[in-house]
Amino acid sequence: MARLATTADVFNAVAEPQRRQILTLLAGGERSVNEIVEALVLKQPQVSKHLRVLKQVGLVRVRGAGQQRLYQLNGAGLKPMHDWVGTFEHFWHESFDRLDEYLQEVQKKEKHDVGKE
């Protein structure tokens, strides 16, 4: 879990609902800005701003096609988030396994102590 810039990381990028809508749309294939504007009923400057953020953190890629610029989802950009969720999961699975062991141990000891009295 490396330290991430808090102003422009993947976590912040996907924290914004409209940006998640854009990612969901792009999961279905590449789109132009206008296609995104139409599909999501958003304003064009807003969409452009969101795409800039998503591009900056590596969640989308852009390519020129004639007059158009087409945006596509870059799944690999979500790796930091995937890693973090994985670490989170691992951390708690292991903690709860240890808690379970501790609880068994302490109850065994209690029984033992009661038996001695």
Binding site: F11, R20, G75, L78, M81, D97, Y102, L103, Q107
Partner: protein
């Protein structure tokens, strides 16, 4: 998850939430104590490969906690938060922040339920807050029908892996 201990389930029920559930073969008073006793925390909290030290643990509303995990190479990973609600032996609400990723504050709500057979069901809901909420506030009024779920996001995550 190992086959022996696949007892913890993790679900992503909504945007910004992770829920973990585990049944412990112990009365809930004991499970609650393990959660709130500074002497017990080092015995279970955190990764097995690291040593946990309780730096601060003031279990009362507004009280601060700070735990430090040190791995075998001597690297330290610190976590901190604040207790918000303490209802023994039922409920514990606290914030959680990994100091290596400051600003990403999670609110953890732990519910301890006594089961008829003497076991305890622990349900921990981690809700992601802070920067997300702040951004959410800035964007409010524009959000409208945002209804993407973490499940959908999890699909991307799987693709990206």
């Amino acid at each position: 998850m190992s086959a022996k201990n696949s007892a913890t389930t993790m679900t992503l029920p909504s945007e910004r939430e992770i829920v973990m559930t585990r049944i412990f073969n112990a009365p809930r008073e004991l499970v609650f104590k393990a959660y709130t006793d500074p002497e017990v925390i080092p015995q279970w909290w955190g990764l097995r490969s690291a040593t946990t030290t309780v730096d601060k643990m003031d279990v009362r509303p507004g009280g601060v906690w700070r735990f430090v995990q040190q791995d075998t190479q001597g690297n330290e990973f610190a976590f901190n938060g604040e207790y918000r609600e303490i209802v023994p032996p039922e409920r514990l609400v606290n914030t959680f922040e990994f100091e290596g990723m400051p600003g990403h504050i999670i609110v953890d709500t732990a519910i301890f339920e006594a089961q008829p057979n003497g076991t305890t069901r622990l349900t921990v809901t981690s809700r992601f807050a802070s920067l997300e909420d702040r951004e959410g506030m800035l964007q409010s009024g524009m959000e409208g029908g945002a209804n993407e779920t973490w499940d959908r996001l999890a699909e991307y995550l799987a693709q990206g892996a």
